[in-house]
């Protein structure tokens, strides 16, 4: 093949691939929004109506239980995970850790980052078995928090590393302690950190595999931290497998709610990250 023909061929292939990916994304979002939107908008109250006693069988009532479950599980999980992730990320900076130590920890974080979410679910399950408890909202929180931890740590670590060195130098120069300096660096890297936490939050909201075995797949309203609960993704999973057409159509309504929330979070996170890249000297360019 002539080298200019090859050049044109692969240029076209590259364009076609990108177009294909974009087309698939448009298809997925459009199907979810149109199909789900129709169901949801004809009866928006299903998102704030508690499930009836035979909800999973006949679709009476709505899926408020899953909406609340998502809020009560992912909200606290994000807070816990954020505190841990920010602390870890601070400790990985050069003021606290040797390069070698942060390399080792980063290796473990990478492994955790790549660990399938279902493994976190199974792990929390082993803990539940070991202490003789039962699946509940609380263990859902634990599982989601563990799942979010490596994601948030990585984003925070990256944000802290690209904060300008001058902030550190200036703060140390005023006689600040390590901790006081760390707080100041956090401030400097705040937009990036918030973007990363929102990202972790969004991933937590969308994940089903971690909660599947830990929160209890309840079909009732959440009754307390140690009572079974469910989340939107788990509910959608269960609804989609239902034999009842009414229940299956609810799955699309629930997806509509879920995709709107997740897309909203991503947009906010991207806007923050973009701002952040622009204001940080030597920061990431896009």
């Amino acid at each position: 093949m002539d080298r200019y023909t090859e050049q044109r061929l692969f240029g076209a292939l590259a364009r076609a691939s990108a177009a294909l990916v974009v087309a698939v994304m448009v298809l997925v979002v459009a199907v979810t929004i149109v199909r789900g939107g129709i169901v949801f908008l004809t009866d928006p109250a299903i998102a704030i109506t508690p499930p009836g006693s035979r909800y999973m069988l006949e679709g009476d009532g709505g899926f408020l239980h899953a909406v609340l479950g998502s809020i009560f599980i992912v909200g606290p999980a994000t807070v816990v995970s954020m505190i841990l992730a920010v602390s870890t990320a601070i400790y990985l900076q050069s003021d606290y850790s040797s390069e070698r130590f942060s390399e080792v920890v980063n290796m473990f974080l990478n492994v955790l980052w790549g660990t399938p979410p279902i493994v976190y679910g199974v792990f929390v399950l082993t803990v539940i078995i070991a202490i003789g408890a039962r699946t509940s909202l609380f263990f859902g929180i634990v599982a989601i928090a563990i799942f979010q931890y490596p994601i948030m740590t990585r984003y925070t670590d990256e944000a802290l590393r690209s904060a300008p060195d001058t902030v550190k130098e200036a703060t140390y120069g005023l006689g600040a302690t390590r901790f006081e300096t760390a707080l100041m660096t956090l401030r400097a890297a705040l937009p990036g950190i918030i973007a990363g936490i929102i990202m972790g939050f969004a991933r937590g909201v969308g994940d089903a595999a971690t909660v599947l075995f830990t929160a209890g797949r309840s079909t009732n309203m959440p009754g307390g931290p140690f009572e079974p609960a469910t989340t939107l993704p788990v509910l959608i999973f269960d609804q989609a497998m239902s034999f009842n057409a009414e229940v299956r159509s609810h799955a699309y309504a629930a997806s509509f709610v879920l995709i709107i929330v997740v897309l909203g979070l991503i947009v906010v996170s991207k806007l923050l990250a973009g701002r952040y890249a622009r204001y940080t000297p030597g920061g990431r360019h896009s």
């Binding site: 590259a14 997925v28 473990f108 399938p116 979410p117 792990f123």
Partner: protein, 313 residues
């Protein structure tokens, strides 16, 4: 450092400085704890999974379980072969479909796209990466499943409901492609412009520059991207559980139904968890997932180092 801090602290005890130093000391304990958390968590996960897999491992030999294709927990038959074959099938097929598209799309974004179009396309890809996998599964149920069942499978002379290995692989390829794209774009864009100038400067075409120089120079990064994609397909739970058809037999064709390791856990969780050995078997599946992902991460690190040395610029 700790020692000098302490003596300073005793000098200034009770004063404002004393308080600050106390905060410094206490915070460093907390932060240090958090610093070891990742390691601790990993060790705890592995230990806990191993411990609860022991009941199974003490009864049956690992080799026998891994090679047996008879899975019937109610009868205490624990053959993992069907699920292992299913997982390998799905992983290989998705990577085969997803990787070339991902690399080409990354090349388009990093080397061809410009200006607003580039921003637009890359934000589309970011959005695709953020969509929860349960939504992919749901959309696939009304788009991919009928397509495969009514057109594709009959076209290749196979009769199927549309649920099965191929459907899962196709959807998983869609799920992982955006991840591979954004990581590959990152590593292509990190390359210095001199590499492009040098290659073009001796009369290489743009494609030759990409093929012979840029893909090598960005090779370690692209390799990591592919590996990340691999890990995600390998451990995917929700999409396979929704689309694979959940039948525990060694799949005979790409359009057959089957089982993957994660769907094994999903399908048999609940009804059979009350049996101690089944419980142990499902936890052992989790352990296998961790071990494989961990091994791959480690191998990837070695390969990446080699590539970095071989293809440095």
């Amino acid at each position: 450092m700790g020692e000098s801090m302490e003596s300073q602290e005793s000098n200034a005890r009770g004063g404002r400085l004393g308080r600050r130093l106390r905060i410094e000391r206490l915070s460093s304990y907390w932060l240090g704890g958090a610093g070891y958390f990742a390691i601790g968590l990993f060790v705890l996960i592995v230990m806990s999974l191993v411990y609860q897999s022991l009941p199974l491992l003490s009864e049956y030999s690992v080799v026998q379980m891994l090679t047996s294709s008879n899975w019937d927990p109610a009868q205490n038959e624990f053959g993992f072969m069907p699920a292992i074959v299913g997982t390998i099938y799905v992983t290989a097929l998705s990577m085969l479909m997803g990787t070339p598209i991902a690399i080409l799309a990354a090349i388009y974004l990093a080397e061809y796209a410009e200006g607003r179009l580039k921003t637009l396309v890359s934000s589309f890809i970011d959005v695709l990466a953020a969509i929860p996998s349960v939504i992919f599964g749901l959309v696939a149920l009304i788009v991919v499943v009928p397509f495969v069942g009514n057109y594709l499978a009959p076209a290749v002379g196979s009769s199927a409901t549309g649920l099965g290995i191929f459907t899962v692989s196709l959807v998983m390829a869609i799920v992982v492609t955006p991840f591979m794209i954004s990581l590959s774009v990152e590593s292509l864009e990190a390359l210095p412009d001199e590499l492009r100038e040098t290659s073009l400067g001796v009369g290489a075409t743009k494609w030759e520059t990409i093929k012979l120089v840029l893909l090598r120079a960005a090779g370690p990064g692209i390799f990591s991207a592919i590996l990340l994609g691999f890990g995600r397909v390998f451990g995917a739970t929700i999409v396979p559980a929704m689309l694979i058809g959940g039948q525990t037999h060694v799949p005979s064709s790409p359009f057959a139904t089957g089982q993957t390791l994660p769907t094994l856990i999903v399908n048999d969780f609940g009804e059979l968890m009350s049996l101690p050995l089944t419980q142990s078997a499902l936890i052992f599946v989790g352990l296998m997932l961790v071990v494989v992902v961990w091994l791959f991460n480690f191998a990837a690190m070695l390969v990446r180092r080699r590539l970095q040395r071989r293809w440095q610029y």
